[in-house]
Amino acid sequence: MKGPGPRVYAAVYAALMALLGVTMALSAVDLGPFGAAAAFSIAAFKAILVALYFMHLRYERGLLAVFASAGFVWLGVLALLAYCDYLTR
């Protein structure tokens, strides 16, 4: 199917590298509990960029997005209910 062109790829690549730099810089600053939150939000954003553009998810049928997110949703279930035990012990 139609994919994005080299310019989009270059832009995404640049964004990914920039975000990597931000992550590394932030890790040296003490943000308390927000440190982890920031690091993982950035990671999630990077992952979404990769999925949408490098992996063309943006240009595909919606069904693929459903299956692509299923893995993450199920992982969320695992994490949620396991934490439900660990946090209340």
Binding site: A70, W74, L81, C84, D85, Y86, T88, R89
Partner: protein, 536 residues
């Protein structure tokens, strides 16, 4: 054997190569059928030995080491190498393309690869068995499995790990096939309910099995390379393994039951000559069971040291998952109303399934009751619960399906008299084997015990007696089905006058399934008011 007139998938070629390298989903289904039958009898032989040992309170037939290996291999083989692949890989493989009007599954090579992967996993477990066996129980709890057991844990875990990928690939194949290869007009809500069940099962296979794979790798790392992940001496949490294991293994029980439910929806309509009652409720119940089934795993851990609050959440969700099952049972029952009921062999199995599944499921509900499970956990009550569902339910569903589609698969008719007789024997033997175990369980007999206090003996004797009847009951179909292959009368076209695309093909079907892609114009179960076939 008289030569059939048309070439079917069975007589298209006769060489061993034409079987072992076949890409035909129907032949692959038969490869699976032979393999899982073999595994069933291996697991069954272990069960026979277990039951013989339990005849008396002392250890007189086998020593503790042997007994522990027996129930482990029984559980591992029956779960991973018999029941999980049973209906999906045999009947699912055979029927999914036929039922949606497709020439094959979406990825035939992958399908064949799944079988080889399955056999590789099975062989590894058999090798582990031959070289001394494994004694962890099918649940592989750490730290026993990872640090203490002196048996072939690595090899067995590897075997199960490998077989898991076969399961993943089969599920993936079904999902893609059902999404992309439905014949024109075969909308989702026109599909036979068997396909809904297989689809829901495939989702579980695809989304659950990888976690099992990971957790087995972690046990292997800890055991083989000293890379401790669960090791309590390093601060590892003993419950982590259980969480990850049951995240897969509870949904896995629905891998075993959902397809059997699918079979029941097909047979019960055909032998009542009636459309199914509440089609969409049954279809959505399958999906609901698959989804909610992922949220309840902690009910295996109520007394494990899991937090009390987590126990309550898991108990609550376990109760919720019972509701869609109840919906299915009631809808099947309502389907009989005003039907034209013929108690043929597949119908007997279907009715047996519904009854025994109901009792098995409701005892599951009792186990989900927090305060009660404290007493009943790891007793024979649990053993009875799951054998009611897995043997009384799923195995009966499988046998019912095999009988129902036997003419389609083999082109032959089996003896109805023997069929009904053995269904009856199995039903009686089954109840005699496992009902006493409910009572034993509440009395407090723990599972995985080869010696037990003498007051438990009476029920154990009943149970062993029942198991021998059950064993005979399982040998009979093996005999008369094989016999029918050679001497049974030929099946002409549609022996049950059943609806569904699979019956629009000759028996047995040709290699290509359909000469022309069928066009579907109405929903499943096209039985008219007088029980006549409407899509003939």
């Amino acid at each position: 054997m008289a030569e059939p007139t048309a070439t079917s998938y069975l007589n298209a070629a006769y060489t061993a190569r034409s079987w072992l390298l076949t890409l035909d989903h129907k032949r692959i289904a038969l490869l699976y059928m032979v393999s899982i039958t073999f595994f069933f009898f291996v697991g069954g032989a272990a069960a026979v030995l277990l039951r013989l040992e339990l005849l008396s309170p002392q250890a007189d037939l086998v020593v503790a080491e042997t007994y522990n290996r027996l129930f482990t291999i029984h559980g591992v083989i029956m779960v991973f190498f018999f029941l999980i692949p049973a209906i999906p890989a045999v009947l699912g493989n055979f029927l999914v393309p036929l039922m949606i009007g497709a020439p094959d599954l979406a990825f035939p090579k992958l399908n064949l690869a799944s079988w080889y992967i399955f056999m590789l996993g099975g062989s590894l477990c058999l090798v582990a068995l031959l070289f001394g066996g494994v004694d962890t129980g099918w649940t592989f709890y750490t730290p026993f499995s990872s640090l203490y057991s002196n048996s072939n844990v690595m090899l067995t875990a590897l075997g199960v790990f490998v077989a898991g990928f076969s399961s993943i690939l089969t599920g993936l194949n079904f999902i893609v096939t059902i999404h992309t290869l439905r014949a024109p007009g075969m909308h989702w809500f026109r599909m036979p309910l068997f396909l809904w069940a297989i689809y829901a099962t495939s989702l579980i296979m695809v989304l659950g099995t990888p976690v099992l794979a990971t957790v087995l790798v972690l046990v292997a790392l800890e055991r083989g390379l000293g890379i401790g992940i669960f090791d309590p001496r390093l601060g590892g949490d003993p419950l982590l393994f259980q969480h990850l294991f049951w995240f897969y293994s509870h949904p896995a029980v629905y891998i075993m039951i959902l397809p059997a439910m699918g079979v029941v929806s097909e047979t019960i309509t055909c032998f009542s000559r009636r459309r199914i009652f509440g089609y969409s409720f049954i279809a959505f119940a399958s999906l609901a069971i698959a989804l909610i089934g992922f949220l309840v795993w902690g009910h295996h851990m109520f007394v494990s040291g899991q937090s009390m609050y987590a126990g309550m959440v898991f108990s609550f969700l376990s109760f919720l998952v019972a509701v869609p099952s109840a919906i299915k049972v009631f809808n099947w029952t309502a389907t009989l109303h005003k039907g034209r009921i013929r108690l043929s062999t597949p119908m007997l199995y279907a009715l047996g399934f519904i009854g025994l599944f109901t009792l098995g499921g409701l005892t599951g509900v009792m186990l989900a009751t927090l305060g009660l499970d404290v007493h009943m956990h790891d007793t024979y009550f649990v053993i009875a619960h799951f054998h009611y569902i897995m043997v009384g339910g799923a195995v009966m569903g499988y046998l019912g399906g095999v009988h129902f589609w036997w003419p389609k698969i083999s082109g032959r008719l089996y003896s109805e008299w023997w069929g009904r007789l053995s269904a009856l024997i199995i039903f009686i033997g089954f109840n005699l084997t496992f009902f006493p175990q409910f009572l034993l369980g509440y009395l407090g007999m723990p599972r995985r015990y080869h010696v037990y206090p003498p007051e438990f003996q009476v029920f154990n004797v009943f149970s062993t007696a029942g198991a021998s009847i059950l064993g005979v009951g399982y040998l009979l179909p093996l005999a008369y089905l094989l016999w029918s292959l050679r001497y049974g009368p030929r099946a002409e076209g549609n022996p049950w006058l059943a609806s569904g695309l699979e019956w629009k093909t000759p028996c047995p079907p040709p290699v290509h399934n359909f000469d022309a892609t069928p066009v579907v114009r109405h929903g499943a179960y096209a039985y008219g008011p007088d029980g006549e076939l409407r899509d003939a």
